[in-house]
């Protein structure tokens, strides 16, 4: 994974009484989420990647060395091709919205500019208030401007520090679709700090789980969410994500077909065009297991699967399944597990009674 398409972070240091020792490697594609409880060092890592903070170690992003203490290399933040979205919008109050957007844009040599102001403004829905003062915008609008401003610096790596955390519920709901849209349309690798499982499930491609100043695990999101050690902490809230493609719409029953590696989900009809990639979330408690393919059932989404791993937790069991290469989680009672003889390697059918479409 090392090389021009990866992000390699090795940092150690102390901030006050807080010791950080973080080491991970993540692909420089899509959205890499840094997750963990607050105060675990997520933001510190992000600030180090930006160069706003300096700890010991090394940073290599897409083949470029940004920091290597062994060789005495440390690029100052303004020399790193990044965009940074802070928790608070932090717009420059002395500049108009347009002035804010142009701030980074103007400082990028024209040969390196990859986005046009008008396009980004359209993408984030801020074209309507380019000439307004930041003070006159709502919280959600301001954060959209801040995101657009960061994008216009033509970053090779976008850094987002809980960009939704300071917003109210309505503003969050307003912005999430924009973020998903960005992920789908712009190919900018992003490090995304969050402690919201919801945001992560919707946006992330890769997860870096951080706890108390060190990296606990790092991997693709589908794998990470279904890792038993991590899923167990979630209990009944454990979930899996499934990346699927829209393959057809059924006009008669008003359903949409979404194909993934283990079969095809049928969901209530959506407006997505055929071929569009979508993400589904399946809660462990919404999945049940049968030994045979049930026919006399109202459940539409039934797939053959193989039991991968079982973890018992009191009266409950969390079962990880391999559904044609896609991991899913099912939450069942220990009694059911014993009755069905659930153990690794056992072929079963998984019935999914509810599925949420992320976008």
């Amino acid at each position: 994974m090392s090389g021009p398409s990866s992000i390699e972070v090795r940092l150690t240091g102390a901030l006050g009484t807080f010791a950080l020792a973080a080491e991970f490697e993540a692909p420089a594609t899509g959205i890499v989420a840094l997750v963990g409880p607050s105060g675990c060092g997520k933001t510190t890592i992000l600030r180090c990647v930006a160069g706003l903070l300096r700890l010991h170690g090394s940073l290599r992003v897409r083949g470029e060395v940004w920091q290597d203490d062994a060789r005495g290399i440390f690029l100052p933040p303004h020399a790193r091709p990044i965009g940074y979205v802070f928790q608070e919008p932090s717009l420059f109050p002395h500049l108009s919205v347009r002035g804010n957007l142009e701030f980074g844009l103007r400082r990028v040599p024209s040969a390196e500019r990859r986005l046009r102001l008008e396009d980004v403004a359209d993408l984030l829905g801020v074209s309507g208030f380019l000439d307004r003062d930041p003070a006159s915008l709502s919280g959600g609008q301001r954060q959209r401007v801040a995101i657009a401003r960061a994008l216009l610096a033509s970053p090779r790596l976008l850094l987002m520090d809980e960009p939704l955390a300071s917003l109210d519920r309505a503003s969050k709901r307003e912005i999430l679709p924009y973020l998903e849209h960005l992920r789908a349309t712009l190919d900018i690798p992003t490090l995304y700090v969050s402690h919201s499982p919801d945001e992560v499930a919707r946006l992330a491609d890769h997860l870096v789980s951080i706890g108390a100043g060190s990296v606990r695990a790092s991997g693709p999101i589908a794998e990470m969410l279904t890792r038993m050690d991590l899923a167990r902490e979630q209990g009944a809230d454990a979930e899996a994500v499934v990346d699927a493609t829209v393959t057809g719409h059924d006009a008669e029953f008003e359903l949409t077909a979404l194909a993934f590696s283990g079969g095809t989900f049928l969901v209530t009809r959506t407006a997505h065009p055929i071929g569009q990639r979508v993400r589904l979330r399946v809660l462990a408690r919404d999945a049940s297991l049968t030994l045979e393919h049930q026919t006399g059932t109202s459940i539409l989404n039934i797939f053959p699967a193989v039991v991968d791993e079982v973890v018992t937790d009191g009266a409950s069991q969390t079962v990880r399944l391999d559904v044609g290469g896609t991991p899913l989680l099912a939450r069942i009672t220990r009694k059911s597990g014993a009755t069905l003889g659930i153990e690794p390697g056992r072929p079963v059918h998984v019935q999914v009674k509810a599925v949420a479409l992320v976008d």
């Binding site: 706003l52 303004h78 940074y84 420059f92 109050p93 002395h94 980074g104 003070a135 850094l159």
Partner: protein, 227 residues
């Protein structure tokens, strides 16, 4: 020189002195204020205290030290020597130096406060948008600190106009060169020429009122814009 001409010369000289002093104060005071606002050096408050000393020292004391500083025993005499003089006292340049020393805290303090008021975030944002430190200073820090610059400039200007003790000490009261308005008023009062003294003092009062009022209005407007 008749009275009217001398009076007019004092007014003109005062305004010139205040303008030049204010410009010099902004040039010198801004980097000091910036350093005081941003440095984490443990001894920076000691520097801040030195800058604030003129607030505490009686003008006559400050004037006496300025006299030594400007004279043949101090650096001022050395500089004057380059131009064939023996001292910077009794010159316009000397008055500017004395006024700058005396008014420095009035300019540094508001600018420092303004630099501190917006915290490190805007500068971090600027850095992540490819602005180097110098660029960020001019494009972000200075515009954001504008109310502080206005306050500092106005206070520096007004304080120089009203300054008396130091100017008295190092000026020598040379008409048209170092005899500023406040010294002229003093002379009129001392010699019981109340009418002229009233005229000048009244003019200064009106001027000071206008300046302070203007400052308050402008400051409020800028602050609203930067909120």
């Amino acid at each position: 020189m008749d009275d009217g001409a001398e009076l007019w010369a004092a007014v003109r000289l005062t305004v010139e002195l205040a303008v030049v002093t204010t410009l010099v104060l902004l040039v010198i005071g801004t980097p000091i204020a910036w350093w005081l606002a941003r440095s984490r050096a443990a001894w920076k408050e000691a520097v801040a205290a030195v800058v604030a000393l003129p607030l505490v020292l009686p003008p006559t004391v400050l004037g006496f030290y300025a006299l030594i500083l400007l004279g043949p025993d101090g650096p001022g005499g050395w500089v004057a020597g380059l131009f064939g003089g023996r001292s910077l006292a009794f010159t316009f340049e000397g008055l500017v130096i004395g006024s700058v020393l005396y008014s420095l805290p009035f300019v540094v303090q508001p600018i420092r406060n303004a630099f501190e008021s917006f915290g490190p975030r805007p500068l971090e944002v600027a850095a992540t948008l490819r602005a180097g430190p110098r660029d960020a200073f001019w494009s972000v820090a200075v515009p954001l600190a504008r109310p502080g610059f206005v306050t500092g400039a106005v206070l520096g200007f007004a304080h120089t106009v009203g300054e008396f003790g130091v100017v008295l000490m190092i000026g020598g009261g040379i008409p048209g060169e170092t005899k500023v308005l406040s010294v002229a008023i003093y002379d009129y009062v001392e010699t019981l020429q109340w009418t002229k003294a009233h005229m000048l003092a009244g003019g200064m009062l009106v001027f000071a009122f206008a300046v302070i009022l203007g400052m308050l209005v402008l400051e409020k407007r800028l602050a609203r814009r930067l909120r």
